[in-house]
Symmetry: C2
Subunit: 411 residues, 2 copies
Amino acid sequence: MTAAVSPLAPKVIPDPDPIAGVRFAVTQAGVKYKGRTDLMLALLDPGTAAAGVFTQSKCPSAPVDWCRAVLPTGMAQALVVNSGNANAFTGQAGAEAAAATAKAVARAAGCPPEEVYLASTGVIGEPLPAGRITARLDAMAGKAGMARPVDAARAMMTTDTFPKVAEASARISGKPVRINGIAKGAGMIAPDMATMLAFVFTDAAIEPAALQALLERAVRPSFNCISVDSDTSTSDTVLMFATGAARGAPLVETASDRRLVGFRRALNAVMLDLACQVVRDGEGASKFLTVSVTGAKSARSAKRVAFAIANSPLVKTAIAGEDANWGRVVMAIGKAGEPADRDRLVIRFGDLLVAERGARVPGYLEAEGAAYMMRDEIEISVDLGVGKSRAKVYGCDLTKDYVAINGDYRS
Amino acid sequence: MTAAVSPLAPKVIPDPDPIAGVRFAVTQAGVKYKGRTDLMLALLDPGTAAAGVFTQSKCPSAPVDWCRAVLPTGMAQALVVNSGNANAFTGQAGAEAAAATAKAVARAAGCPPEEVYLASTGVIGEPLPAGRITARLDAMAGKAGMARPVDAARAMMTTDTFPKVAEASARISGKPVRINGIAKGAGMIAPDMATMLAFVFTDAAIEPAALQALLERAVRPSFNCISVDSDTSTSDTVLMFATGAARGAPLVETASDRRLVGFRRALNAVMLDLACQVVRDGEGASKFLTVSVTGAKSARSAKRVAFAIANSPLVKTAIAGEDANWGRVVMAIGKAGEPADRDRLVIRFGDLLVAERGARVPGYLEAEGAAYMMRDEIEISVDLGVGKSRAKVYGCDLTKDYVAINGDYRS
């Protein structure tokens, strides 16, 4: 296991001020890790609207069950996140640990438990020592506002190699509003699995139903278009909170409101930024991969082909080996099972045209492909030649470090 | 890249006599490799029935196109297979190379081109130097019968570490018939991808339509239930030939004929044996994995869950690391998206009960799980608790050698 920061990490970690109406506290609760923060509390001003999207897993964690149950209130006053234990596949005891945590948060925050959101990330199947969390909450509530978004991001890390923070601003009816978000990505602690958590905050005033619609749309081209290893976590959670604390920002009631044009763009940018940071910190990743598919019968079909390429172990190992192995791209397109015309396929690596009309282009030089593959950021573009739909997804290479991180740590 | 034989190879490579009515020849054609056989010709007695199943890839190779086109005749007199070049994604030139090869085989064998079957395995996207093949065919036809099945299997190898041969016998109406088969598995030569080829021969007398039905049924629980790396080849081909040369064996006209009970069992055994040998020679494999799923809503659902487990990079790396990481099995079940009840799941490693009713069983000892994972052959059993259907699939672990074989060979 490498302790070094990912070679694909941003050069500078963003450190925005908290959003008005959001106060963070972090602490060392010792859920599992020692000598580092592992618990984050966010207190949200009364009246904050909440939205959320969760893992599609049929075996969701207890905190995911909890969030799904309270989300219909549409309101939030607190969010608490621990690292070191995912509270997943922990049965009735896990559900009770989640409820007890929420109750203690509610008491500390002075709000109903239905306005408390929970997330946990770390080992699966171990009972969550909820007492270590609840014992800290009163003190954390007293210190709320003393931590910054980057501190909150750091407390959620498992084996992430850098904290993931993004920010943007926009205007609604001319009034400035801010958005910032934090995320954690693929991390590993024995015996454990990757989980993805992201939390986005804004001081805009947006009704819960509108916020939910905005979040669901923003998730599609960002978090729903990334893959590190094709393994879906039990705990994936993206929550968004709108405090409405921006001065003079009007209350917006529908997601399609024209005043949100700039806000939607800013939100999409924050979400895509966070999602790509998660990929950049993918376990063992040494190359960032963008796959663009055009000429598909439908957007769904384009996305399936794009993921078939981005998730193919043979494509991913070729990228790790800096091998412009376009034959494996053909293979991945073929295995996707989506409409495609072998004899009209166009394949590019960056701007380099590699194949068209069912065969390698005359004059293609292996040396040019090899030179392109030395880059940190690889783009593979495919035109399927059967329609007008498109998709873009983001992934990374498959290296020996991925196997080491996930296989060697017990040896 | 390791040149050593897979640790999962059979202790003894089977070396059966050819099936009556089948005569093999092999040669060094120099398609790509030097100093080893790379071309195999099988001459089949006139009247031999043929059946075939092919890759589901939307980008099939030229030989797959050829075989699909001639299969409706139901008859075969020759099969020619080369290694070193897959003749895939080679456009019109590839189709012409396949047709020219078939024509030359037909001339050498004295049969119509429609009774010639082709397969190619190796590099994708390179034009096939068909002349190197056609120049050898007359000499090979003259020597037909001088090579054995194991020689034919060896000529098809790419980076397979051992030739894959299986045999069985049965009785039809009391008359003995034989079956044998050869296969090649996941191999790698730069820039290349895995392909899977298998050929099964019997001296039973079976009508083409019945043979096709038998083959399609036998493929389901064997070749369609294995995965090395979830990447589907452009060239996967399983062909079966029935020469009818067994003395006194009656001509069977339907696959459901009761006289075939023993034959079907023998055929299934040969197919499963070959399929598992392909897995045992999976690139970098150090552990053979069987995943059994029971209690599913449908057989299709059971198979999807089983493959979600067998193909999960996190499950596969855990097995490589000898880590009884059942939390990742829960994850894989969850991501399959099939009906399952988290709170009724039962998970076993071998006979060891690990989890039930949505949580780890009380008294489960990590040490027992860890001891089990030291074995070469790992069985993971899952009961989904929602129905009565089942599936069993076969896979292998994901090791650093897999990444090395597929990523490092250019560096």
